[in-house]
Symmetry: D5
Subunit: 150 residues, 10 copies
């Protein structure tokens, strides 16, 4: 393993903001293969920019690696750094996807943000970096819809 992890195998502090979080990108261990990596992140919280109240979401990130992969503990810390960050649901979700694309330069990436209901109505946000590569196997994310009660 030719990279030095900033977080994995250590005890790590929570970054102060998304901007302060450091993402680690070890070399792709199967660089010749076209494959998909999916992260499921049910522990996401940020703040509402209008009311200051906490928001919660379940996030699912899919990507096809190019030269590197993203190390999951550094990803966890990056996501945890939204804890005191205020932004709209659409902005957070698409922004996480765009930052990962900007730093990792994968072949392709998408993110689904499944937000908890406010006012009885949840919002889901779906973004991808472009059309998926030909030949990539891409199962759907399968997060169940919100159903209210009963």
């Amino acid at each position: 393993m030719s990279y030095t992890p900033s977080a994995l195998g250590q005890v790590s502090a929570l970054p102060a903001s998304p901007a302060a979080a450091v993402l680690d990108f070890p070399p792709n261990p199967r660089p010749g293969a076209l494959y998909l990596v999916r992260f499921t992140c049910p522990e996401f919280t940020s703040l509402c920019p209008v009311t200051g109240q906490p928001d919660f979401a379940h996030l699912v990130i899919d990507y096809a690696p190019a030269a590197t992969i993203v190390e999951s503990k550094s990803l966890k810390l990056f996501l945890a750094a939204f804890r005191n960050h205020a932004a709209f649901h659409e902005d957070c979700t698409v922004g996480i996807g765009q930052r990962l694309v900007g730093e990792m330069a994968p072949r392709w990436l998408r993110i689904g943000g499944y937000w908890y209901p406010r006012g009885g109505i949840p919002i889901d946000v779906f973004w991808q970096s472009g059309p998926p590569p030909e030949g990539l196997w891409l199962p759907d994310q399968g997060v169940p819809g919100y159903r209210g009660r009963g």
Copy 2:
């Protein structure tokens, strides 16, 4: 059938308020038997007494008939009459149960109110008229809990 239905088999108008609704109580067709009748009412809506906004609930009513049963179309109209009525969740739920007990005088009755979330937190309300009669078969209502997203 020795009673005159006020609603069943006819086209009926929506009552103006819960107080204005008429409940029909035909004779119990199996008066010697101790049995349970369950109504499941997923189409309930009322108003919040503080904000005036609509509230929604899924109601389940269980009762053991004595001399009469409640006719289901008149029950439907009674529940539909909460549409413009403003009251707390606890008040609506327990109040529906108490009115049915007061007019029908069943051996026993309970009501479960499963309210849609507000502020991310749903409220459920459970009331019964007393301990269930000995020997009554009483399955649980089995309404699934609220789970947010993911």
Copy 3:
């Protein structure tokens, strides 16, 4: 097998009414054992006594045999005979249970009738012949509640 089946192993006509149906009661093959037999009957239909429209139900019958058991093909024909019979949900459900008890004389019997919604509200009816015998293993019927949509 010391009894002559009226239906099993033969091609049988539909009885004209519940009263015309013949139930077969072969000897209990394990007469010394206290055990439960459950029939699940999702194919039940009768007529509404007020409107003449078809009603549908899912029935579950549980009983503990005494000297005889009820043969399932004759039971099927008995239930199918409600096809042109008009009665309230409460009446049909409790009546089926009472007829089986009257003819078979089991140690104990119960019936759950889970009726399809009318006016947005389904009715379930639960009856048993008395408290269940001590020592009988009696799982709950586990039919899911009605949930509307979503």
Copy 4:
């Protein structure tokens, strides 16, 4: 945030009719991105134009924003304004979609209306503004079918 919300962060009254409701359209915070926003609205009710009785539905709205997004609290108030509005299921569902398209001018929009059963038969209505944009990630809505009982 360069727009003045008419509802978010405030206490708001229920609009008297769909026509009286005001929808807010803040600027799209990620205007360069092709993405999907999904609203799930399990708290919808209107009136039957023939009988005057309440109808209930679970709605799911999907759209790809262009210059603006729709603010969710104003959407909630618009939908709540159908409470005293009488129209067929097909008319309500398609009409909500057409109004949103007319005022917001998104790249694309669709609406699924999943109505509670009447007479034992629910109606679902599915409309979209045109073929979805190339490259948009569009998960299916996944609302379960109606199953009656059992």
Copy 5:
């Protein structure tokens, strides 16, 4: 509403046969829109042409309206009229679809018939009037497969 309903808003008798049933076709309230209407009909029963025994099915009908829609109460009565009609599963299912197409002349229609098991094996039948129109949003019917027990 420029049509006179034969059934909706009234108390109606059950037609004597499918051929005797009258289907109502009010004008399409959104004639310019390409959209899908789905009816879910879990209350279907007919007779076996060989044995005379009752058969049961869960039907789902999808169509894209042209000039008219089908009124749901008249559809309910048409389907209920199969109660004393004897035909194979394949014949009933495809026949219902063909009659609706013949009388309503929709842009497109399909029907799925999900029949209850006989001899341990259920039959499902799937028919459509032709390839679905381009641009129509057509979710799958999602009826779960039969699983036996366990």
Copy 6:
């Protein structure tokens, strides 16, 4: 009905082997229509050719009829005849499909075999006679995956 059934409406013996089983092919009652028939067969068992132990499977067969359909009771007897037949999972599953295609000459056929786990690992086998006909409506079979425990 112009064919003479070998099994339906009669009491039938179990065939001694798959080769000894007779399949009945009545005329297609809707010969002009392109439609799909699905059989779900959760009661399948054969023997392992290496160890002689019983194997179990859940089978789902889909086909588009040409001149004939397969009668379901004769299909049931054919499948039951594998009870004492020894073959690999891949061989049984594809072989059943090939025999049906050979004798019935449908427009198209596929079979999914979902085998119970051995050594902790179940095998599923999926075969079709060729690409499905254009315009055939073909829902997926939707059999859930094996999940071990928990």
Copy 7:
């Protein structure tokens, strides 16, 4: 391990009948503890004593060991030996329980037989050797009910 297994760790032939099957009873490895062992056996098949046709069942066996436990491979072979045995559902289910009690002499045992439907109606059979021992932890078997279709 002080016993010689007749089947475990070896390749074994299928016994010719239930009577010919040998059950192994190794010493209870935790003889001082009151605990429950549950076997879930979804691969059970026997023959109908009237028609000779195959029957299928999902069995669940619970017992509290005394001096011995039953070895699972020998249990599997015993159950597989019903493959050519003809008996009623009630007889098979209770009989398996009684044989295990007779040979193993556990503190307590129960068996649930969940049979696949015949004529549209499945039968479940529930038997126990007596009231469960005080202090035994005994979860319910939780096998879902039969639901037909839809």
Copy 8:
């Protein structure tokens, strides 16, 4: 309504700590009735006292009111105030229950804390203030267990 809400119907700031949060207790609207109120709170997060990392939980609170009820918006703000509070799972869960009992003095209260997995193992915590009152209807909380994957 004789109390002045501190939060409901207003825009509120997030309290700095659990100790700083103010809970509102309006009068019980049905003081003569023995009933249960359930809050489901899937949006809970706190910090690990050893590592400082965020923890997440799904909480369910059940209580039987005496003189007062707890207002749900003030409850939401109290729970949101754990966002920057560090404590063990056992401590948080039982502590929330004890604070509510101390300030509200209900007839009875219980809390279930269902924590997200750490190290592959989630912890659930269940506490109640004492045995539930006789005659209270108390459904189980029904939160599904953790199952890993597959």
Copy 9:
């Protein structure tokens, strides 16, 4: 926190055997309260004592703390230490429960072991240290039964 953790907040090696694993018992943070702690452990594997092949299980442990609680990272390492340990299912499951009781001396403890199928038949093992304390709230573990396929 008055105890020194042997594992939490550190990087730890896998113990060589269950006997070599060290369990940590910090003081109970809510010593006056009678409450339940549940660990769900879906990542368990050991070896078969007869064949040497790997076995897998899903474990659920419930206990009511007395003076101490068990720290979850040390519990994880203890369970992981069964990776190269050979024992029967009954022995492993009851043995884990007995070791925890012996070292922690809780008020009460139970363990459920849900083992993956071998030979088509999974084994579940349920043990508890004695009758649960009066007044303890003890939800059932709710692990679904094994169902084979289909």
Copy 10:
């Protein structure tokens, strides 16, 4: 059967490493058919290359055979040999697929690895050997997403 199995029908030892495991490839019993074989492997465990801790996964392998098939007991032993092998999730999953392709030379193969969560975030890995062959029937794997709790 013209091949000599190395494992099936025998008692086999666990290979010391993936490299040491021998995979058996009997001749394809249906060589003219284009079909899919799916293996579901919920019993997979390996070691983390950074921390040395055990990892767990649920694997699903799909392939279309050419001249040979892979024998399932030898596959089981190969997968079990990862028990003491240390590698990243991405590496293990893609590597298993590549080894099977290299030795068996199927027409096509894919593997889905569904890993248990670490740090609250599970990783799924999806790889295929190229675009699936035209005309192959390829159902999706349908493994449910991770949902945290609640």
